[in-house]
C-alpha cells in the first residue's frame, strides 16, 4: 500500500504543481511583455471558468464552443484592461508601484463583479474527456488530470517557441525590454503591450477552464490562484514559461511530500522555507538567466 501512497502523493503534487504553473504562464507572459506584476491574473481564470460554466449550464452550448468563447472572453478582458487603463498609466509615466496598486485594485473589482453577477456559489466545470479513472502504480488517476498535464506541457513548449522563435513573440519581448529602442526599429510598442495582455487573458482563461473541474471556482478563488501562480513564476525566473513549470512542480511536489511524510500542519512552513532557501541561493529563480542588461 505504500507504493499507492507515494504514487498518489506524487501525482497529486504534479497535478497541483501544474495548476500553479498554468496561472504562472499568464503572469510570466504579462511580465515578459509589459514588465507589470499582474495581481489580477487569477481573476482572468475565474472569469474564463465562470463564462464557460454559464454557457454550459444556462445556455446548453457544447463544451468546445463554450471553451472557445471562454478563452475569447479572457482575451477581451485583457485587451480592455490594457486599452482603457494601462495605456493611460503609461502615458502618464506612472511609477512601478502604481501598476501594482492598479492590478490589485482591478483584481478586487473583478472579484466583486463576479460575486455580484454570479453569486457566492462555487461552480464545478465538467472534466475534459469521458471522466474515466485509471489505476497506475496503485494510484487513482483521473482522465482530466492527464489532460491537464498534457495541455500544460504543450502550452509550455508552445509559449517557449512563441517567445524565442516567432517574430511576434520576440517583438513583444523587445517592446518591454527597451520600449524606445523597439520603437526606433519599427515595433509598435503600444500594440505589443495590448497583445501581451490579450495573451495573458487567454492563458488565464485556459488555466481557469483546466483547473475548475478540480477546484470549484467562485469569486473568492482569484487571489489564492494568483499567489500560487506568482510563487511558481518567481521560483522559475518570472519570464520563462519553462521556469513556471519547474517552479510549480517544485512547489506542488514539495507540498505533497511534506503531507505524506510529516503532517499537513507543516505543509506551508516547509514549502515556503524551501522557497526562501532556493531564492537566497538562486535569486534569479531556478531557470532565470545570468545577466540582464539592455546593451
Amino acid at each position: 500500500m505504500l507504493l499507492g501512497l507515494v504514487s498518489q502523493s506524487l501525482l497529486s503534487g504534479v497535478t497541483n504543481g501544474l495548476i500553479y504553473a498554468l496561472v504562472g504562464f499568464g503572469i510570466a507572459a504579462i511580465f515578459r511583455g509589459a514588465h507589470i506584476a499582474n495581481v489580477m491574473q487569477g481573476e482572468f481564470s475565474v472569469v474564463g471558468a465562470v463564462v464557460v460554466d454559464v454557457l454550459l449550464v444556462q445556455i446548453g452550448m457544447p463544451y468546445w464552443a463554450a471553451a472557445i468563447i471562454g478563452c475569447l472572453s479572457g482575451a477581451a478582458l485583457g485587451a480592455l484592461i490594457d486599452v482603457v487603463f494601462i495605456r493611460r498609466l503609461v502615458a502618464q509615466k506612472a511609477p512601478d508601484d502604481s501598476y501594482l496598486l492598479f492590478t490589485i485594485g482591478v483584481s478586487i473589482t473583478i472579484s466583486a463583479a463576479v460575486l455580484f453577477l454570479f453569486g457566492r456559489e462555487g461552480h464545478l466545470l465538467p472534466p475534459i474527456g469521458s471522466g474515466q479513472i485509471f489505476i497506475v502504480l496503485d494510484a487513482v488517476v483521473q482522465e482530466h488530470a492527464l489532460w491537464l498535464i498534457g495541455i500544460s506541457v504543450i502550452l509550455m513548449f508552445a509559449l517557449r517557441y512563441f517567445y524565442r522563435r516567432t517574430t511576434l513573440g520576440m517583438r513583444m519581448s523587445a517592446a518591454a525590454i527597451d520600449p524606445d529602442g523597439a520603437a526606433t526599429i519599427g515595433i509598435d510598442v503600444r500594440a505589443m503591450r495590448t497583445l501581451t495582455f490579450v495573451l495573458g487573458g487567454v492563458l488565464g482563461a485556459i488555466a481557469g477552464i483546466l483547473i475548475t473541474p478540480i477546484i470549484p471556482v467562485s469569486y473568492m478563488v482569484g487571489l489564492p490562484l494568483t499567489l500560487k501562480g506568482f510563487s511558481a513564476a518567481i521560483l522559475g525566473g518570472l519570464t520563462n514559461p519553462l521556469g513556471a513549470v519547474a517552479g510549480g512542480l517544485v512547489i506542488g511536489i514539495l507540498e505533497a511530500l511534506v503531507v505524506m511524510q510529516m503532517s499537513s500542519a507543516y505543509k506551508d512552513v516547509v514549502t515556503f522555507s524551501g522557497l526562501i532557501l532556493i531564492m537566497i541561493f538562486m535569486p534569479r529563480g531556478l531557470l532565470g538567466r545570468a545577466g540582464r542588461a539592455g546593451g
Binding site: L5, Q8, V140, P224, A256, V259, M260
Partner: protein, 380 residues
C-alpha cells in the same frame, strides 16, 4: 431682585427634576421604538455557507414574531453584521452592536473562535448572547450568559460515533479541518473507545483548502471501515470519493447544506449526517417551519436555518419574559431553562449551555442529491 431669583430657582429646580425623570427614559428607548437585537454572522468569507442560511432563518423568525405582535406590543428589529468569518471583525461588530446600536441581546456568531472572542466582552457584563455554533473550549463553560443553539462538539462527536457503532465500525479514519473540525476531532478521539471504535489514520486540512488529495491518500492507504469528515466545504468528501474509497462517510452537521452538497458533486452519494431537519420528510412539529420557509424563500430549509430560527425565537421569548428594559442579568436568567425549538429540545440551563440530548438528533443520508431521513435514532 429676590422675586427674579426665586423664579429662576424654581425654573432651574423644575428643569433638573424634569431631567431626572425624563433623562433615564430618554436614554432608553421610546415605548414604541423597536427592540433591537444584534446578529453577528459570517456573510462573506469561508463561513458564508453557514452564515447566509442562518440569516434567512433569523429573518423569518423576526417576521413571524412581529406578525404575532412582537414582544409586549413592541416590534423587534434585528441588526445584522458581517464578521467575514474573522474573529477580530466579530469582536469589532460586537462592540458596535452592544455599545453603539445598544442592542438588548446578541445572536451569533457561528465559528467557535469568533464566539469565544465575542464572549470575551459579553460574559463579563452578563450580556445575553446565543451563539449559533456549539460549545467550544472549556472557558465557555464559565460564561453563563453565552448560550448555544447548536450542539456542543462532544454531542456532535457522540452522535457520529453512535451511528458508526450501529454500522459495526471498528477501525475508523478522520479528515477534519483546522477550525471547528479540530475541536470535534478532539471529542471524537476522546469518546471513540466508549463506542468500541479505534481511529487509525487521521488527517487535518486548512479550512478553505481547495485540495485534500494527499491527506485522503494517506487515509486510503490505511483502509478504514468508515471515514469521519468534519469541515465546512465539499472538498474533503470529493477527495475521498475521487480516490475511489467506497467506505461509508459520516459527515458533521456543518456540511449538511444544499450548497455544500452540490459542490460535492457525485461524491455526495451515501454520506450520512447527524442533524436536525430533513425538509423532504420533516418531523410533525417541523412542518409549519418548513412550509413557512418555502413560502418565504422559495426553497427548502436545513438544520442551519432552523437552528438560527430557534435561536432568535428563544432569545425573543426570554426578552419577553424578563421585559425588554430588564437589563442583561434578567434576560439571561429568563433564557436559562428548557425551550422547545423547531430543531430539537433545548435546555439552556444545562452545564453545556445547550441541553441537546443525543436522542434529539435525527440522521439523514444523501441519495441522488436529496436528504433522506434515516430511521436510526439514539436511545438516550
Amino acid at each position: 431682585m429676590r422675586r427674579i431669583d426665586r423664579t429662576r430657582l424654581v425654573a432651574a429646580a423644575s428643569g433638573l427634576a424634569l431631567l431626572g425623570v425624563v433623562g433615564p427614559v430618554a436614554a432608553q428607548t421610546n415605548a414604541s421604538d423597536p427592540i433591537k437585537i444584534g446578529v453577528i454572522l459570517p456573510l462573506t468569507g469561508a463561513g458564508a455557507g453557514l452564515g447566509i442560511p442562518s440569516r434567512n432563518g433569523i429573518l423569518l423568525a423576526e417576521k413571524q414574531i412581529n406578525a404575532a405582535g412582537g414582544i409586549k406590543g413592541r416590534k423587534i428589529k434585528v441588526v445584522i453584521e458581517d464578521d467575514t468569518t474573522n474573529p477580530d471583525a466579530a469582536l469589532n461588530k460586537a462592540n458596535n452592536l452592544i455599545f453603539g446600536e445598544k442592542v438588548v441581546a446578541l445572536v451569533g456568531p457561528i465559528q467557535t473562535a469568533n464566539t469565544v472572542a465575542v464572549g470575551g466582552i459579553t460574559a463579563p457584563v452578563k450580556f445575553p448572547q446565543v451563539a449559533l455554533g456549539g460549545l467550544g473550549p472549556a472557558v465557555e463553560l464559565e460564561r453563563k450568559c453565552v448560550f448555544h443553539a447548536a450542539p456542543p462538539q462532544n454531542q456532535n462527536a457522540r452522535a457520529m460515533l453512535a451511528y458508526a457503532k450501529s454500522l459495526g465500525v471498528k477501525n475508523a479514519a478522520a479528515l477534519y479541518d483546522s477550525g471547528y473540525g479540530t475541536v470535534v476531532w478532539n471529542q471524537l478521539s476522546k469518546f471513540a473507545g466508549e463506542y468500541g471504535i479505534k481511529f487509525g489514520v487521521t488527517e487535518k486540512f486548512e479550512i478553505a483548502a481547495t485540495d485534500t488529495t494527499p491527506q485522503a491518500a494517506k487515509i486510503r492507504a490505511s483502509q478504514p471501515d468508515a471515514i469521519f469528515v468534519i469541515g465546512v466545504t465539499g472538498v474533503p468528501v470529493r477527495a475521498i470519493r475521487q480516490l475511489q474509497m467506497k467506505q461509508p462517510i459520516i459527515a458533521a452537521i456543518g456540511q449538511a447544506t444544499y450548497e455544500i452538497v452540490k459542490s460535492m458533486g457525485d461524491a455526495a452519494e451515501g454520506v450520512v449526517f447527524p442533524e436536525f431537519l430533513v425538509p423532504e420528510d420533516p418531523l410533525p412539529h417541523q412542518k409549519a417551519f418548513v412550509d413557512a420557509y418555502k413560502a418565504e424563500y422559495g426553497r427548502a430549509p436545513k438544520s442551519i436555518e432552523s437552528i438560527a430560527y430557534d435561536a432568535l425565537k428563544a432569545m425573543s421569548q426570554a426578552i419577553g419574559k424578563a421585559g425588554p428594559e430588564a437589563g442583561n442579568e434578567a434576560i439571561c436568567a429568563a433564557m436559562r431553562g428548557p425551550y422547545s425549538g423547531n430543531s430539537t429540545e433545548y435546555d439552556f440551563s444545562a452545564p453545556d449551555m445547550t441541553g441537546i440530548k443525543l436522542n434529539g438528533f435525527i440522521y439523514s443520508k444523501l441519495v441522488g442529491g436529496h436528504f433522506n431521513r434515516l430511521p436510526f435514532k439514539n436511545a438516550e
